[in-house]
Symmetry: C2
Subunit: 337 residues, 2 copies
Amino acid sequence: MSKNEWIPLQAHIVSCASVVGHREHEGPIGQCFDMFDPTDRFGQKTWERAESEMQRRALNLALKKGGLREDDLQAIFAGDLLNQCVGAAYGLMDFPAPYFGLYGACSTAAEGLILSGICATHRVYGLCAAVASSHYCSAERQYRTPVEYGGQRTPTAQWTVTGAGAYLVASGRGEVELVAAMPGKVVEKGITDTSNMGAAMAPAALDTLVRFFRATGREPQSFDLIATGDLGYEGISILGDLLYAEGFDVGDRLNDCGMMIYQRKTQDTHAGGSGCGCSASVMAGYLYPKLKSGEIREMLLIGTGAMMSPDSIKQGQAIPAVAHLVHFRHGIGEGEK
Amino acid sequence: MSKNEWIPLQAHIVSCASVVGHREHEGPIGQCFDMFDPTDRFGQKTWERAESEMQRRALNLALKKGGLREDDLQAIFAGDLLNQCVGAAYGLMDFPAPYFGLYGACSTAAEGLILSGICATHRVYGLCAAVASSHYCSAERQYRTPVEYGGQRTPTAQWTVTGAGAYLVASGRGEVELVAAMPGKVVEKGITDTSNMGAAMAPAALDTLVRFFRATGREPQSFDLIATGDLGYEGISILGDLLYAEGFDVGDRLNDCGMMIYQRKTQDTHAGGSGCGCSASVMAGYLYPKLKSGEIREMLLIGTGAMMSPDSIKQGQAIPAVAHLVHFRHGIGEGEK
């Protein structure tokens, strides 16, 4: 294959599930998620354990919805934002399947879907899972300040979603198909403001989208939805401008999982949602059913991750970002299989 | 395929390279590494940046040794121990290839080799890179205390290797071949002592090895070397006992990258080396040439990772571990291609 080409996939989502916190449940698409906990604690003593528990429940629910048992699972691709990715490692350790730990920041769900899609397409594994999560309270105290501190937020700051999404991926056709992938390159354009990660990630999303459109010859107009996850209001506006400058008019097809999950005016979430759990839960809870029903025929999910650490920022380094693209299609119905 | 089966691979290592610090250079296999810096700083202002720089140099060197340019690279699978895996993200961002961030703790090199092997075998990518690193000084201040503090170490504690390894993987036959992989499951047996990670990781190595021997029908005797990376002296002794109890007599075939890299009696490194950079650099610098020459005909590399975080330990959780196995074989010589 030639360099930078997209990866053709022949795989489908068998089932998926989403678990969220109270704020996500109160948002405009709150009724779409499978499970929520009004305390955000999920029965656990710490926020980090609560995050692990969300991953465990999301994967269990996805198996249940697919009529599958944990023994049917052949590989797990998972990650989160916590140091050393402990959300996934602890949350999924009871599942008796090989575990591939990922770190792609907010692009983790897309990264896991791509690797699951590759392994399913080539029948390396019969059934793979992609799982990702984030938790507002564990992220705040790790990246910024503990929630109790009550730090002021800037308008460009995003709100880490308390949520997890799990996807089961198998080869061949199905109701929701993975058609192609365009993995992202690391892009760093000098942004150092961690309260404006949308600006840091938009150029990465641009790079991946432009490579995808040029490699495949597809026009933005041929997709019902181009969903980033998660640039927020700030980043999506930058991406729209950058795409236009490159000659791609995406119009109102462009949307962002971080904009879908919260009500901007009333929920005080500033530039929108972020975190591995944002695109993971929005895709599983809100977009997957639309793909399944055919309301969306074709869409692109572009998981965007900002891969700095608090230490790298303190040491004066800019924010490197990556954007992984997955091309989904409404597939064959139940009767056509 | 049936559950838990090993993954057959048809791929080979095109070239690989290793970059290490002064202590690794002074060790018993110090002359095998491609590059070292007596200051461990690699021209950088911080230890974290030094770690990134080791990854960059290792991948550059691997490309140079293979007679390849960075444009030939089609995908990178990389990770490290730092929070948010910034060692890899910053170190490799100048390479114009899609980037898959991994977190597998000390199993990262093996995880990257498996995913590279899968993508090469199925020709998803023509040329993949697997890269991993660790740095003693960045790891100490993140996991334990800054080096300046001079904390006392227990005899079971391992010494984080300052080193990086990079591997270029392509499909088909070659001088050193990837024959098979057996990815690991997360195993947690209640060990909470972060100064005894060998004990936490040995059961994970056992699980993967036993599954591999049983699935393939291969005997330990049919391998010249079974190298873990990195259980250290403590963990390897436990693994030997556990394997014996399961009916596998590995004898002196069992060795550990963390035992190979330091001189136990004179280098004050206690239970041996650890860190993503340990197996990454030992495999690239010391074992790969033996496989290439035929001194080793067949070997297993079992990357073992302890996936706790300092926070998860403070919160009273035990150490989850994972062990990824790669089966290497001396392949065809230059004249036979």
